[in-house]
Symmetry: D4
Subunit: 154 residues, 8 copies
């Protein structure tokens, strides 16, 4: 397995599904589970030590400790996705403002798809088939912008 | 021992010293250690499981996961103190915005003394000698305000 | 009675009901009343001096002075719950940023259930039956996460 | 006496002195005292009930409950001055965001002079000598701008 | 006439109606008009110079210059009401953060009723009938809190 | 004259000097004066109606009404420069968040040089000599980046 | 053609339509296209080098790099319009806080109409017919305020 | 070469030096250059197309477009480091809030060392010697916490 996706709570599923849709499209293997840094800390510990993932994607809202807690227990790259709520800044700053020594790669609020793309970019450094898929994905984005542009300029 | 103080980093010591000064004055026993939720997660786990403290005070800045990570592993009350930095809101929101089920008792930015007073209030529910000390402490605060007021109104 | 819940206004009732549901489940006795720091200051004063509560939970929005005003008149632990509104930061900062000497234990925005759990943790230091209830409560949270995880990983 | 100035703490004195300088210049009588809403609530109550002031100026930082607590106990106009600190937004929002029914007249961060001018404007509605002083004060402000402008345009 | 209410735009009418309801109840005479600091600056100038009001209430959103622009042209007390929008902080800070020399009395976001009560408090300094009305108004607020409290404690 | 620079207060001079340095270098004629929207509104009115400037640059801090007040009285482009202070967001949002119908062209905090460059870009649409100067200015910026880059990569 | 409007994404169309409605009313020629600074950077480059526009209007949300990226490649004035989203401050600050040397003229959140008016003001410096149209536009705004005012004061 | 570090301006050098110190310690090859997204866009384009780096680290302040502009032109992972300034939130949000499709891996404010560690974690997926170095680095961090802890608990 290449990517382990971890949600802090079932309510983060919509953001996770943006990630899994991209990983499927790019043919990147993944597993998904729920493990709360605050409600099930032992589960997070066990998960990280047992997972044979090359990259972690951690998705959480509020005081979003999950990405940092995973990063504390693995040397693999950890991508953090802050989830929107009443404040938004709480999740963003909790994910981004990690102390020196333990990095988390933060993507934007609710940006599950970008977490998946970043994971794929990382994996593509040693797997050229993913690189090809990523290029195709980008080309489709460009084509869509061009089509949209022709439409509004008509 | 009654209170276990945990700092996320040695740089939080100035805030911790506000807490220890108050605990000493009130005769509340405590221990103090450094254990980072991100750099030494196993240390935090061991600390929490071994500590025989009745109340925890966790002091941390930036993405301040420490109070929540301790709260995730103990049923004892955990008081969180956000430490000031370039943003301040990152530490405050990380400490305050805990998810449902795992409370942290947040005090204000750099308010080590208030963390100690809150711990003492909690302990005083079953130890009347602490309650007496707290009352004295408050009276001194009041007396100081009254003296200050006489000075400015002179 | 163990816990006195005070709302700043009837509109805070939904947050209070999260607290009372938890206290009932844990078998912690409580009373609930409305007393505004700004509209009925004498009521707050009388309430605090007459209440035989061991812990206070104060729930308020906007410039949420209520927790601090109660803390100013009692030596008991006071838990403050900021209530969401157009800004959110006003209530959070009003509850958290107490001056040195008078602590409030702030929980997250609208986190009535966490206020109740924190109160129960405090009371459990001298009442073991509450500690047992809390442990059960936590176990249920964990079980739910595990069930949710199995569901999404299916 | 016309204006009662109340500081939450001696550290707010610099802001208060901006107010007293203006009141002296305009010949408005005032008294000044320190009374913390959190450390000396009874003092605030007694002060408000005994003061024969027509306008109150309350100066406080952090979770600045003082203006609201005074407004809760008097029908006189209360002017609130938020005092700067590590966050600033905490004091501003605590002073401004009063609930319906109990107004506070907020002025800007550290704006003691504006609190005094507003108090004088209010008192001038029935005391024409103050109105004349205010007009002079404004004229001096204008003259200074014009002189400054000539200097930079030279 | 005692109070001149000025709206920056017709969309601020809902906030203004909270003010007029209170002024009617207290028997305070007022007029209401729309005059934008940005779209009709001459109208604002003429309005201020012609109005025989003792107190102004200015209601505006976004970059809410209206209260300050009125305050720049009158020596009468000017109460500013920030109106909610996509940001809220823009209107609040524009109304509160006036430069030294020209005060505005800011009330909370959308707090038209508090603007009216503050105006009435100011006018009551020389008109005792308004003071009596204000006291009644407050008593009703208190009675409502007490009734609400009895209901929830039932 | 091409550009009229207006400062809200003499304390904004450092930001204005960044603008005048650029205008001089580009050979754009300008005048500079101080005129406060709040302390000298009549001066602002007279200035705007008498100035034969093609572009205005208005520089102000706090509740920075000056750019909007000038824009309200002229059909010429008005560039607004927010000036830094204790909050920064107050000035930025006051300058940017203009209501529909009356635009201000906001540049960044303390960015006097960018205001001058923007004014020059606008004037260059009908004066090619300014366009040439702007191109040279940009080339120097590029050259500096390239030199700096060679230095750090050495 | 006079004005080139560029949207970062099709979802910004509603804001762009506010701009095109104004440009049509004022008889200012324009073209509109979609070109993302992040998804189609080459398209942005080509667009800027090929467009014979005198003024650019760039409309984008989130980390709104588009206005700055266009400004980096043209000496023409670039007007930036931040588009609202979950945070709003991200788009506003990305558009406003340009580094020294490369100005963007920021207008308010979603203020497409103000971008168009600012573009028209700039173009009117050499085209008097636009100036006349702008004056009419302003007069209509004023008339509407006056009519609205008469309605509420009735 | 493995890592290409790009600074938006020479003033970001202090943050870059935290990154280069870590890369040197871990034996990861890198190059460093300055290339502004706004002042030298062609340089950024050329740099990205010519660099044979596997990972990019982009360091910038204010409206920090640089990481996103690089990410727009490469399929390699791009790590963005926001640099502190008067606001901080501008740089953080500009780096984090990338639109769907083009991810940037954001680290904390001024966290050059974490950018380097994240780059090393990514590269270690195919180079085990880096993984070993990273483990050593972490162990040193832990040892330091433990030594610090013994010191404060003495």
């Amino acid at each position: 397995m290449s990517v382990q996706i971890v949600l802090g709570s079932k309510s983060d599923l919509k953001v996770a599904e943006k990630a899994t849709a991209v990983l499927k499209e790019l043919g990147v293997s993944y597993r998904i589970c729920i493990a709360s840094a605050h409600r099930t800390p032992e589960l997070v510990d066990r998960l990280v030590s047992e997972a044979d993932a090359e990259v972690f994607i951690a998705i959480a809202g509020l005081s979003a400790a999950l990405p940092g807690v995973i990063a504390a227990r693995t040397g693999r790259p950890v991508i953090g996705v802050p989830v929107s709520g009443a404040l938004n800044l709480d999740a963003i700053l909790s994910v981004v403002q990690m102390p020196p020594g333990i990095p988390v790669a933060a993507v934007g609020l609710d940006r599950g798809e970008n977490a998946a793309l970043l994971a794929a970019q990382i994996l593509s450094l040693k797997d050229e088939s993913i690189a090809a898929g990523l290029e195709e994905y980008r080309q489709k984005l460009k084509d869509k912008v061009i089509r949209d542009s022709q439409e509004v300029d008509a």
